[in-house]
Symmetry: C2
Subunit: 431 residues, 2 copies
């Protein structure tokens, strides 16, 4: 993509209402624009990141046996009355009447709706287990939306729902998702720690939140410091440890019950990026979702639900990966692989070399943002640093004279010189 054509009007000023660094950087880098209080439009650069995260989640869901569906954003109130949750979200649940005076609501979560769908199709234990997920916009009418997409009203979530015959099998589904989440977050370059949590309005008696440790987080988490020494959270060994180690939210913390020595405990802040629940028959009983078991007896299905905040993750990743100059995208979710900077777009030789490089990189399936504008070198550098693409290729007169290109690693700031006429050396530097 050429910057000249791209809808990428970055800003130098920091918006006055933004306190979080991720909020500031997302506005400045033209990723999002607020269109109403707590409601955002995703501009081309922001949407690219959102879609990358979405796809990493989708692939993990598919590989763990979940099937994708898509429920509508708008639900009927009736099913919420049946489940007994009609008032549980209070004024955060956006309710309204349609033209026929029927009460509808913008779904804040979908346990009722999925249970209602499920029961229309699945009648036999032979068709279990099932695990259905969706990636869909939700709405929670926060009284004071703030922190950009970290706490907004219309937000994108992946939510999935497991259905099993027995508690034992349901807990296996829960464990399966626990593992899936460890992998999912790792696949986007993040380290997310599972901690025991309250179930809140979803209900049930087993629940974990997944947290990115970060000073801007709004949840206090308390855990055994052994977790910090685990290098790779997704190994079988780590999974066993994480499943049994002491790790809780502040709400869930009880000094008397805490089995870990005080000196061995970490108390810190986390950004919640995922939350999983096992709630047994809470919804299947209320909404009458059952299957026949092998003796022809009606059994309410055992259910769990599992959420990942996709739009919030974009901000969470920035909170944990930036410097004073801007965003530093993990390569897994970066909007582009490479930023190509022509330091003087009026110079014919530099333009020819840059154009050829652009072509070469695209042929090698790299996503490239090519700054071909007439801005000053300083402005181009600042812009690329702000946007945070993992690698920058700098095409300038000085190095070209030595038949060289400069490749800058955004994270380490290390600049490597490569032979301009050696494509394989160039490509090798970009991995």
């Amino acid at each position: 993509m050429r910057v000249k054509k791209y809808f990428l009007q970055t800003k130098k000023e920091t918006p006055s209402d933004a306190s979080l660094i991720s909020h500031k950087l997302m506005i400045r880098s033209c990723m999002i624009k607020q269109t109403s209080s707590g409601i955002y439009a995703w501009l081309p650069l922001g949407l690219k990141v959102l879609k990358k995260i979405e796809n990493i989640i989708r692939e993990a869901q598919n590989s763990y046996g979940c099937q994708e569906i898509l429920m509508p954003t708008i639900q009927q109130s009736e099913i919420w009355k049946k489940s007994g949750r009609y008032n549980d979200y209070g004024p955060e649940m956006l309710k309204f009447l349609d033209r026929n005076k029927k009460e509808l609501l913008y779904g804040p979560t979908n346990e009722e709706l999925i249970t209602n769908i499920f029961k229309d199709y699945i009648n036999s234990y032979k068709d279990l287990p099932k695990n259905l997920y969706q990636i869909q916009w939700k709405f929670r009418d926060e009284i004071r939306p703030r922190f950009g997409v970290m706490r907004c009203r219309e937000f994108l979530m992946k939510d999935n729902y497991s259905f099993d015959l027995t508690i034992k099998e349901a807990k296996r589904s829960y464990d399966n998702m626990f593992k899936c989440y460890l992998n999912t977050f790792q696949n986007m370059g993040l380290r997310a720690i599972p901690v025991k949590a309250e179930s809140g309005a979803i209900g049930g008696d087993m629940s974990h939140e997944f947290h990115i440790v970060n000073k801007s987080g709004d949840t206090e988490i308390i855990y055994d410091k052994k977790i910090d020494s685990l290098k790779n959270l997704t190994s079988d060994n780590s999974y066993q440890i994480l499943r049994n180690i002491y790790a809780v939210t502040r709400e869930k913390y009880n000094e008397a019950e805490c089995i870990v020595n005080k000196n061995d405990i970490v108390v810190t802040k986390g950004i919640e990026v995922g939350h999983i629940f096992f709630f047994g028959t809470k919804y299947s009983s209320a909404l009458n979702a059952y299957v026949l078991n092998n003796q022809g007896k009606r059994i309410n299905v055992q259910m769990g639900s599992y959420g990942i905040g996709i739009s919030r993750l974009v901000a969470a990743i920035i909170e944990s990966s930036h410097d004073k100059n801007g965003i530093i995208w993990p390569k897994e979710v970066a909007p582009f692989d490479i930023g190509l900077i022509n330091l003087n777009s009026k110079d014919k030789m530099l333009s020819k070399i840059s154009d050829d490089l652009y072509k070469l990189l695209k042929q090698n399936h790299k996503e490239v943002l090519y700054d071909d504008t007439l801005e000053s070198p300083g402005a181009k550098f600042a812009n690329m640093d702000l946007i945070g693409i993992p690698f920058q290729i700098i095409v300038g007169l000085k190095s070209i004279k030595n038949n060289e290109l400069e490749i800058k690693n955004r994270k380490t700031n290390i600049i490597t010189k490569v032979d301009l006429n050696n494509p394989s050396q160039i490509l090798k530097q970009l991995n």
Copy 2:
């Protein structure tokens, strides 16, 4: 995907409230489920088709220079008051108050919102032209939702918006989208005819609808029969003809003005799948969106908007491609490439052969739905015909004894025998 695990509970009965064949077949084949009046959930099979159509549209948009963004579903009423359209959609526009008593609405279309976004970023003629698109759910509170996803309340649309400095350039953008649409529909195996249309609530003085000729369509269209003799609507020649030939909706028809001989006219029904508009400065004037031209003068941008009904297209394709046994998917949008039928899943040899085939096909990047259930052969055949996958591979004892497989083309019903032990022959038959 194995049928045994798949969420695919097809139904034999036709739902009583369904009159359109597409509605019946989508319910029976477990593609969609109504969750409220005119509001549907997309089940795994349906969502796969929806996503394929979405991606064909996305690729065409990208290749015609449009950039993807994503606007929220919820908008503020204010901008609709500014544009003067607040009452234009009447009770079809779903409006409601948030907890702070601010009036919001579920967007039925996005001209106001995109104009507001645009003007915050683009200030100079140098940054034009721009063309932004999104694929997002919309809501129109139809008084009598019916015909399944053909006329539902929550629906998926691709909408894009062009911004130009001059009328001449804006008309070029319009023509560019006209061509893009001809290609888009062809890329999904459809023949969509552009006809001059009224602009309705969008406004402006130039507009075309794109129609699939079909007896179940709810729009009468009238056009020069020469169109029916055009083989390929996307050739340069066809484009020139279509841009100038007589073709209108009934609303737009005026006998006195019709230049074509009565005998040379086709009067038929069409399903509207796309609609494009040029409306000049209607929104840019009202919402004060301007750029500075090369003399530093403020110029309101010239705009057009362009819509494709994605969820509706799923139904439209079925209306134009089915038989008495079920759906016949064009291969471009088929949920799977191949249906693999093991006629007797209890038979070890048949199961081994089927499993091996399943593996072979997946290795060759084919999407396969593998019926490994214990259903009867008749039920399996009926199911595959209903679902409408382009090819069926039938693994039965009789042909296996001759070292053969049967491959059935869903559209032609022709069955070809291929050598079981010749993978390349098998794969060749499936293109």
